[in-house]
């Protein structure tokens, strides 16, 4: 019996993480960027240790749902691509309100009325192309031309939150609709998994064009990859990478500190350095980007995005495979 007791004691020791100030963040932001974010956060808050789970928004949501079903989630803070997924969590009473968050300088239209989640940056989806293979396209319509479609890859809404919003928004527009995606599919366009697979395929020259979030393309270009990014003439779709505190958190103060920090100047400046459009008024966009207020953003009906989310994924999976 001693043996069993010793075994179980040893296991409990492993099972209980260091107590108190450990903050668990579930996010869809890339690993390397989050490492920088955490390092900068710890400069201001050395007492809070941040642990990370990173995956595509859709997988992060699936993991959360599974953990809710199992009873509880270790996650304290959620930092994912889109407000629609956040709205869904809010409706399920999974989020904690944080009315004291510093939201000065953020467009009130982007704020949640009950202060349950907060936008942290602007991420737009446009077109990436391999600059050593093809000339720059100018519009979404260019991609639908047969010779372009055959060389196009896009991220799947089954993995990426930005892609879910992109497809959902595009099909709401009368000039695009599902017809646009059908034309692309007939022309031979394919869907990868997340945005990462799109960048890989275009940078390696396996495909000439890709549908991609701007920062991944611009960062790869800055590092020397043979890619460039186009903000299409019809406009881009956009998500706001919201941050939220989960209702079941056991470290609410640390969680609030993280959210407040995300909305503060230091984090916003770091976002710009990492290649994101800033959200706070009065900050310049990263070098080589157009100014944020000069962008034409395709407006989305958010209520419809929320209610049609599953249908959009199914329809997309029918066209491009699961």
């Amino acid at each position: 019996m001693t043996r069993i007791l010793m075994l179980s004691t040893a296991l409990t020791g492993l099972a209980l993480p260091a107590l108190a100030q450990t903050l668990t963040v579930y996010t869809s932001q890339p690993q390397e960027q989050m490492t920088e974010v955490i390092a900068a956060f710890n400069e201001d808050h050395p007492e809070i240790e941040v642990e990370l789970f990173r995956s595509g928004t859709t997988e992060v949501m699936a993991k959360l749902q599974a953990e809710f079903a199992a009873g509880d989630t270790p996650a304290d803070v959620l930092l994912i691509a889109d407000a629609v997924a956040m709205t869904q969590l809010k409706q399920d009473d999974r989020l904690m309100a944080h009315p004291d968050a510093p939201v000065d300088g953020i467009d009130p239209a982007l704020l949640d009325a009950e202060a349950m989640f907060f936008p942290t940056k602007l991420i737009t989806t446009g077109i990436v192309y391999n600059s050593s293979m093809v000339e720059a396209p100018t519009s979404w319509a260019d991609l639908a031309a047969p010779e372009a479609a055959a060389q196009t890859i896009m991220p799947s809404p089954l993995y990426s939150g930005a892609a879910a919003i992109h497809v959902g928004t595009m099909v709401q527009q009368p000039e695009f609709g599902w017809e646009y995606f059908e034309t692309l599919a007939e022309g031979g366009a394919v869907a990868g998994q997340g945005n990462g697979t799109v960048l890989e395929a275009v940078a390696r020259g396996e495909k000439a064009y890709g549908v991609l979030v701007e920062y991944m393309a611009m960062n790869a270009k800055a590092q020397g990859s043979p890619v460039d990014f186009v903000f299409p003439s019809e406009g881009v779709t956009a998500v706001t990478q919201p941050v939220a505190i989960l209702a079941g958190t056991d470290v609410p103060d640390a969680a609030k500190a993280f959210v407040d920090w995300q909305l503060g100047r230091a984090a916003q400046e770091q976002s710009v350095a990492q290649g994101y459009f800033p959200l706070v008024a009065g900050m310049a966009a990263p070098e080589g980007y157009p100014e944020a207020d000069s962008l034409s953003i395709i407006g989305a009906d958010n209520a419809a995005l929320l209610s049609d989310g599953e249908d959009v994924k199914m329809e997309f999976a029918d066209l491009y495979g699961g």
Partner: protein, 570 residues
């Protein structure tokens, strides 16, 4: 009490030995029997509306199941074809002809088996992509816009075939060593031409071993996760192992019933192949007269040596070279050249806290697993060989189960058993490092148990008997007489556990959680994020670590211990 007495030993078995046997039963019961039992229960559970075997019927009738089943079966078979052609060719060449640097050659041939499958897949992706740092300068890389030919059914079969080729190679090399020299010499004296000696004397003698090796390769292919994950997910070729992974990751444990059925199918295929192997081994075993073993006398002609080295270069060296070169370019898609090459990627991954944590976690977990496996194996092997009882014999068999069934199945079983909070303690192990450790302990125990059992069976049992008569207690007998006699084998087994567990992906892909990532998971998720240059750098670092461990094992183990190392079986 009488039944109990009989189960744990006979009249000569002492009280301490009984307690030990009981403790081992509890241990194997907790980490192996309970999880795998949960899996069976879940798979055979009722459906949503409570129909008998409903979960199973629903899953079996789903289209995705059929597709993944056929892909697993057919691609594994094709891969075995590749393994047999390569493995038999190389084994016959190396075994029948004399040539310089044979030991180096044998080690290189075994490389695909030693390199973890996700890294092997990654290195082949780099080698055959349109940006290949090796093929592009030669003008042999696929044209831009063509896509990587490996993201396909044939790509999966080819790379799996190469990875498992050493299993066939090892089997045939061993068989060649037992071909009697007399037979070959008799044929030569009768002036039978060499080609006919090969066809009529040698091949029939090694055929059963080749078949046994092929079936092992098949089992390995069925359970492979790394290659289908890196080639099949982007190529949209679902296999059973990746379907389980994608379902669990996409939908969470709510689909546990469905995936348990998939796991059961996977297990049945693997176990059927192993059972067939056991039957064949018994049926086809030939009585060969003892005596001097055949040793090659003919020197390999230069063209044959060149051909072998070229083949080995393609299999073992070029892919890894492509991986290293990729890790030196500054960003994806930048063609490799001397001017752009830099170590920036390494600086970047080493500055990434998640990567260094992954290295720490993997080293800790694999080290702990090795120590605990050795600690459990010593009493288990002692009892099994010196005080056999029905319970201990059963434990010896049961302990093999998590190694025989595919790793994905073990991981799923662990989730099912340890997701609900533990009784009494009220904590769930899911989401902690403990669940990874338990999975490693269950899966890798046979790596220590097998060599130690073999050594224990070879050691003299009379010593233990004499010590008992002289009145030495159980602890003394185990610690001072038994343990030293199997120490070399136990060390070798422990090293094998460290090497295998350190780069493990199959279990950790399903069981990792924030803060508890492993090296395998890191490589996989960096590649997935679109950061393949970083994935290449991490792969190169972990491969270097692995080779260092191989060297350490080679230097520190001699004699009986060294024989348990995979490259000594070639």
């Amino acid at each position: 009490m009488a039944a109990d007495l009989h189960l744990l030993g006979d009249r000569r078995t002492g009280g301490g030995e009984r307690m030990l046997a009981l403790a081992l039963c509890v241990y194997v019961g907790l980490i192996t029997v309970w999880p795998l039992g949960q899996l069976l229960l879940t798979a055979f559970g009722p459906g949503d509306e409570g129909q008998l075997l409903g979960t199973m019927r629903d899953t079996l009738s789903a289209r995705a199941t059929g597709r993944a089943f056929w892909n697993t079966l057919t691609l594994s078979l094709v891969s075995v074809g590749v393994s047999v052609v390569l493995g038999a060719g190389l084994a016959l060449a190396v075994g029948l002809m004399r040539m310089p640097f044979r030991a180096v050659l044998s080690f290189l041939i075994l490389m695909p088996l030693i390199i973890p499958s996700q890294i092997l897949a990654l290195s082949w992706i780099e080698l055959l992509g349109s940006q290949s740092p090796i093929l592009s300068p030669l003008g042999l890389a696929p044209a831009p816009g063509q896509g990587n030919p490996l993201y396909s059914r044939m790509g999966i079969a080819l790379v799996m075939g190469i990875e498992h080729m050493p299993l066939v190679f090892i089997a045939i090399r061993a068989a060649l060593k037992s071909v009697p020299a007399d037979l070959v010499e008799a044929a030569r004296i009768a002036s039978v031409p060499p080609a006919r000696v090969l066809a009529r004397v040698i091949l029939p003698l090694v055929a059963p071993s080749a078949l046994a090796g092929a079936l092992l390769a098949f089992t390995a292919a069925v359970g492979n996760f790394g290659i289908p994950a890196l080639l099949g997910i982007p190529g949209r070729v679902p296999m059973l192992t990746t379907l389980i992974y994608q379902r669990l990751n996409g939908f969470g444990p709510s689909v546990a019933g469905q995936v348990a059925v998939l796991a059961l199918i996977l297990t049945l295929i693997a176990v059927a192949a192993l059972a067939l192997r056991a039957v064949l081994m018994r049926q086809l075993r030939m009585r060969i007269e003892g005596g001097r073993a055949f040793a090659p006398t003919r020197r390999a002609p230069l063209w044959a040596q060149a051909l072998i080295w070229a083949g080995v270069a393609v299999i073992a060296i070029l892919p890894l070279a492509a991986l290293v070169l990729t890790s030196l370019v500054p960003a994806i898609g930048v063609p490799f050249s001397r001017e752009v090459a830099s170590l920036d990627q390494y600086a970047r991954v080493l500055a990434n806290a998640a990567v260094t944590r992954a290295f720490g976690n993997s080293l800790m977990l694999s080290g702990a697993a090795a120590i605990l496996c050795v600690a459990v194996t010593l009493p288990l092997a002692y009892l099994a060989t010196r005080r056999p009882s029905p319970a201990v014999t059963a434990l010896d068999l049961l302990a093999e189960a998590p190694w025989v069934v595919p790793g994905t199945v073990v991981a799923l079983a662990m989730i099912l058993a340890f997701l609900p909070p533990l009784p009494l303690l009220g904590v769930s192990l899911y989401g902690t490092a403990a669940i990874l450790l338990i999975a490693y302990l269950a899966r890798f125990l046979p790596l220590v148990l097998r060599p130690v059992m073999a050594a224990a069976q070879g050691a003299d049992p009379g010593l233990d008997e004499a010590a008992r008569i002289a009145g030495l207690g159980l602890a003394d007998r185990m610690g001072r007489i038994f343990a030293p006699s199997v120490l070399a084998a136990a060390l070798a087994g422990g090293m094998l556990v460290v090497m295998t567990a350190m780069n493990e992906l199959t279990l950790s892909a399903l069981l990792w959680s924030s803060g508890h990532e492993t090296i395998g998971v890191m490589v996989f998720s960096l590649q997935y994020e679109g950061n393949s240059t970083a994935a290449a750098a991490v792969s190169v670092l972990s491969t270097l670590l692995l080779l260092a461990l191989c060297a350490l094992a080679q230097v520190s183990l001699r004699g009986a211990g060294a024989r348990a190392l995979p490259w000594h079986q070639g």
